[in-house]
Amino acid sequence: MLASDKSSLKRTPLHGLHVARGGKMVPFAGYEMPVQFPAGVLKEHLHTRSAAGLFDVSHMGQLTLRAKSGRVEDAALALERLVPQDIVAVAPQRQRYAQFTNGNGGILDDLMVANFGDHLFLVVNAACKAEDEAHLRAHLSDTCIIDSLPDRALIALQGPKAESALAKLCADVTTMRFMDTGPRKVAGFDCFVSRSGYTGEDGFEISVPAEQAEALVTQLLDNPDVLPIGLGARDSLRLEAGLCLYGHDLDTTTTPVEGALEWSVQKSRRSGGARAGGFPGAEKILSQFEKGASRRRVGLRAQGRAPVREGAQLFADTASSEPIGKVTSGGFGPTLNAPIAMGYLPTALAANGTQVFAEVRGQRLPLQVAAMPFVPNTYKR
């Protein structure tokens, strides 16, 4: 990347801290982000699994959705016009995983939706945030006020020691359970804290005013249990946890059913439910719930040591010339010390234990369809 290109990249409020700590900065979703720190991807990954990792995810979009009526139920009902999830049922101080769908049932983005009592708080992917905001405005401005919160940073603190590290700065996080959320004073700063993350570990995501982000992160990193973690380990951690990366494992051509995300669509939005359908692509998605989809996202374990990367084509055997699917995320799982991948296969070949082959550098490498998560999650439910 040329220096002139780099200058057009945006920076998060933690940019200076990353550079000072030796972060190797790379372009990602229009931002200059640390891909790794001097410890390196492998150590950062394992440290997050054994202690605590701190991630800057300030590039992600933070938005609020308020009903003009002032009632959070109305904001929830409005958002249900764009997602196949039950948002009305999200209790105050709780959050839920959701997807914006398009008219073909494809996924425009995946997001977190939190009920903050009188309004909804949304966290969306960095690469989609402008489109997501426009999408919300285009469809919900009749009844809702949409605000983006570009003046807030977002950090994630993940791992078995995340709770003890955060509790030093905010005592009442210990009573939170997985997917609890809400405003908290952390180190005296006005934060939104949720017990959630993208690693499969117990942990927290903390939205903090931009001007206080560095002070907060510095206090967290003063704890020897906490190391800064780059995007490299963020990706290997979420892959081990079987979590989708939008734009890779999910996109506008994959539906929630094809993406093996049926668990995220509550009964109330499915056929026969209290508020069945009524979201973009409902006809296709609800029909897939009943009749099944022709392909499915699966986990894949290699039998050898060679990582199978994104884009590798999948075959039913070593001889056939027609691919049957494709790897959408793949690499090396440091916790398992083995290659892992996810990809799409015909539903008939999606059962755990099925053998398929990936083409890597002209060779067909055997893979087995495997259950996800690859590494059991440790959420505090």
């Binding site: 891909v35 790794q36 390196g40 991807v41 492998l42 150590k43 990954h45 490299g232 380990a233 990706d235 290997s236 040591r305 060679a306 990582p307 990367r309 690499g331 090396f332 440091p334 290659p339 550098r361």
Partner: protein
Amino acid sequence: MTTLFTSDHEWLRIEGDVATIGVTDYAQSQLGDVVFVELPKVGRALKKAEAAAVVESVKAASDVYAPISGEVIEVNEALAAEPALVNSDAGGKAWFFKLKIADKSELGGLMDEAAYAKHTA
């Protein structure tokens, strides 16, 4: 014994008509933690600039190119078993393969240690 370098960050140790080839310490520092190495088959005739081996970190795969033409006469099986050697001893124990040099004139285009130091500065 002479050690030469390529602009793609490989080193070659020349002993008679045999070249031992690996990647430089600079290369390993850029690659990060190496988790997989694929070596060429013994007996394979490599042409200069041909992809000869693969080195993979957690994040990405990189090719190792044949810096000169020649026949593969030995590969480092210990490296295939312990890819992290690339990070701990790139210039030593982590040699990749040995070539029987086909054309010594190809060595003329390679860098000496001083030139390589300048190249990575």
